[in-house]
């Protein structure tokens, strides 16, 4: 496609919106099944089209930049469902704090140990450690612990997609109906992508998920440098 067209937001937005509409249609036909995650489906579609048209990722990313930027205002928008939960939140303060800390701890330790046991390079281990933090926080952590920030960003997105896709089934399996528990668990392990996927079925759960995403990001930022040092002795 022409150089000039790709230097505008038109093709990036057009392609992403079309892929998303198609992915949503597939998910609706599949009875809103979480395994038919629209982020994964539409990303796969976009990748296929880019390869077909021989357009580089950098080109596409530049053209679709507006969507990525809108994540900022969308995160602020979580304040609205969160404000509705505020009166109930003071009683939940300590259970939520304990649970999110336990989840962040598990995420970092399991990432480091599983990656090492399966033979990952030290750079990959360090890049995987902050994977449950939301992208901007994870990138900051990666820079601090000498990981590869761009690789970390990709791993964060991938783990968010995994959490959004398989998380609802896992929570069903655990018999967890409470939207507070579902939201907190999703936001802790699967940050923004998990949070985004909850809103359509339960705005209440997504409010808790957004809260957990902020808390878990903060706790992960504090824990990763310390745990990497602690677990470093074994390597």
């Amino acid at each position: 496609m022409s150089e000039r067209l790709w230097s505008t937001p038109l093709p990036g937005l057009l392609l992403t919106l079309a892929a998303y509409e198609l992915a949503r249609a597939v998910q609706r036909r599949g009875g809103e099944h979480p395994l038919l995650n629209p982020v994964a489906l539409s990303a796969a579609l976009v990748i296929a089209v880019l390869q077909l048209l021989d357009v580089s990722y950098a080109r596409y990313a530049d053209s679709a930049r507006l969507l990525l930027w809108l994540l900022g205002p969308a995160t602020v928008a979580l304040a609205v469902p969160l404000a509705r939960e505020l009166p109930r939140l003071s009683r939940l303060a300590w259970p939520v704090l304990v649970a999110v800390t336990a989840g962040a701890f598990t995420s970092i330790i399991s990432a480091v140990l599983l990656a090492r046991w399966t033979g990952a390079s030290e750079l990959l281990v360090r890049s995987l450690a902050p994977k449950s933090a939301t992208t901007p926080i994870a990138i900051g952590i990666a820079e601090k612990v000498g990981a590869a920030p761009e690789l970390t960003a990709a791993l964060v997105v991938a783990s968010g997609i995994v959490g959004a896709t398989f998380g609802p089934l896992l929570l069903d399996l655990l018999g967890t109906r409470d939207p507070r528990v579902r939201g907190i668990a999703t936001g802790t392990a699967a940050h923004g992508i998990g949070t985004a996927s909850l809103y359509r079925t339960s705005p209440e759960a997504s409010a808790y998920s957004g809260l957990a995403m902020g808390l878990s990001g903060l706790i992960t930022a504090l824990l990763v440098p310390w745990l990497l040092q602690l677990l470093g002795a074994g390597s």
Partner: protein, 121 residues
Amino acid sequence: MPLGLLVLLLGLLAGELASQLLRLPLPGGVVGMALLAGLLGATRRRWASLEDASAALLRHMPLLFVPAGVGVVQFASSLRAAWLPVLCTLLLGTLLSMAVTALTLRACLALQARAGPKGPA
């Protein structure tokens, strides 16, 4: 709706400024969310325009992550080379963390309920 969007952008601006000035380890959007939630909670007001703008963005939030998802292909070759650790960590690690969070929260809530409705929260 435009007024609601304006409020969200102001919230983002306040969050970005606070995050930079106070050197918080949190992104501007998350700080903005906390600030706006605090403000809405304190004023106990509901603005239809803000609710509309917020619902519109949140309903389609997965769409906003698609370019990031496409970004994963950049690393396709290095991820493919280390597919076993990547797959294990992403799948098992993420789900383990989610399960631990859910079970811990459930246990804490049960503990709190047993301590009685007026127990120290």
